[in-house]
Amino acid sequence: MANLTLLQAINDGLRTAMKDDPSVLVFGEDVGKKGGVFLATENLQRDFGANRCFDTPLSEDGIVGCAIGMAMNGLRPVAEIQFQDFIFPAFDQIVSEAAKLRYRSGGQYTAPLVIRTPYGGGIRGGLYHSQSGEAYFCHTPGLKVVVPSTPHDAKGLLLAAIADPDPVLFLEPKALYRSVKGEVPEGNYKVPLSTLREARAGTQVTVFCYGAMVPVTLKAAEEAAASGIDTRVIDLRTLLPLDEEGVLEHAKSTGRVVVVHEAPRFCGFGAEISALIAEHAIEYMEAPVVRVTGFDTPFPNTLEHHYLPDHRRVLDALERVAHF
């Protein structure tokens, strides 16, 4: 066990995968010598050589398109998109190609690739270095969407994603890169995709959240405890395919649910959770499902701390739902 930041855990996960499987390649903009703009790929080129870890031209379309071809032909590409905000030139390759290849070829061709990309706010990055675009991708059958929130999960989920036979979008909460630390086992271990994690036990209200919103929610849950609200916090970890049964079990057991994400509300992931509960657990619910989300506006810069859901907003929702 080592005590690592989330960023170091990702580096460790990449390193472990590259060591164990010579078909794993890591590439993207500035990932080689520089080690990535956040240093997630630091020293991978030095340690594994430029055939295993390398820079590409500045084209996300090229990065993902080439990753698909590599994956079709026996490699395990782990492509980095420098910021999730810059993934859109590759949207066509992800949505039209990677996600549909297995289906359209009747399983003859597949694209087992991982696209890692930092997402979310909190670094004063304004409109284009802060977005949470998971909803676009969760609307894409054939793709898997994973979001870790702890160093342990970051490494274990990444290793599971790399081993997975299908394309995985691995969204890294950049706000947590250096702000969370935790015990990370050595060697190759996998956290199975499509499983939930109970980040905090509680009996009265369940909060579903993921990524950078997990610590925010935990803080709100602590404050709520002081006023007698016992909150369970569930880290979704994999958004697609979602562990729907697990979500419903938690929802039924507390009968009160809050969903937290920093992406805009309209057609956001919270809508899916809310609809799932409305369809399958309405008779257990003692209060409406409440969403705490980013606003339906682009991401501002100077006022980003008002845009991002904070523990006050989560606490407010907890109180509303608990006392409904």
């Binding site: 084209s59 304004g126 606003f295 339906d296 810069n301 100077t302 006022l303 407010d316």
Partner: protein, 374 residues
Amino acid sequence: MNLTTTQPLQVIQPDGGVNGYDPKLSEAELLHCYRAMLLVRAFDAICLKLQRSGRIGFSIPNEGIEATQVGAASALKKSDWIFPSYRDFGMALYHGVPALEMMHNMFGNAQDGAKGRQMPVHFSFVQPIHFVSISSPIGTHIPQAVGAAHAAKLRGEDTVFLASFGDGGTSSLGFHSGLNFAGVWKSPVVFLCQNNGWAISCPVEEQTASDGFAIKGEAYGIPGVVVDGNDLFAVRKVTLEAVVRARAGGGPTLIEAQTFRMGGHSTSDDPKRYVPPEQFEYWKKRDPLARFEKYLEAAGLLNAAKSEALRKEVEAEIAAAARAAEQVGPPGLETVFSDVYAEIPTHIRKQGEGLFDLGRRRGDAHAGDGKFPL
């Protein structure tokens, strides 16, 4: 007619001589160019200090690129449009955008034209020249410049549109679709590729296997011209030729200005991690500002005393702008919700009201008197 070149055009010699080249600029105009370059350097240096002392979050170093920025900008009229990159301070300053307006953006304060929504250096101005709102995604503005140019062409106007981007930008989808459309439509566009050797840590050899960037115009039926980007007159000359041709209906040009970024990619970057030290030494000797000073001195327009006085004046101007911008408070909370659409839809209004309501109930100074004003 094949106008494509492969050897960089140079005008100003190391000793300041110009081999009989006539810039056709008055003394005042020449000194305006010089002053604009000094403004960039001062703006750059002060922003670096502001960032290092935590008073602004971010900046983009411009040192070493001043001649490309100012030389190209000087070929445009005020009625022309610039679709800039984030490393084009000199284009705005040359055309008279007040340093204070730029500083408001650097601080993201209430007087910033973009209401503090964008990161620093993502400027947007409509006066005194169209300096179009900068977007972070690389290359997206290139076809937009072509579309704007097509609009002008359809209306029979003689406006010229300059799209500026880096060597890395030539790998973007926007570069290829932009050049392709402009070639087909013969659009009045000047594509300015600022080849500064690096796209963050990726050297040009990782960006392209072609012999430079100008030659990429060929395939789209667009002349490509290479120029020494640290030579103000050379950049001005090729840009002016491209602008004149575009204005006369002769279509687009791709210019590759060869230059070098003397700083990091941004204030978050340490170039020593990847740029070989020889490159800094090589380009330091080719400083565009020193080169233009040599010319001005040789032409009898500048001496050490005058240059020192100008430098001080410009530094004072930028420092005053920074002090003034720092005094201005943050934008109002309602700016999170305005300008998403021409009219604020109900669901966004409700979210705004909710935030103000929360502020009122939980005591948040930012919410002011707690009334959502939109």
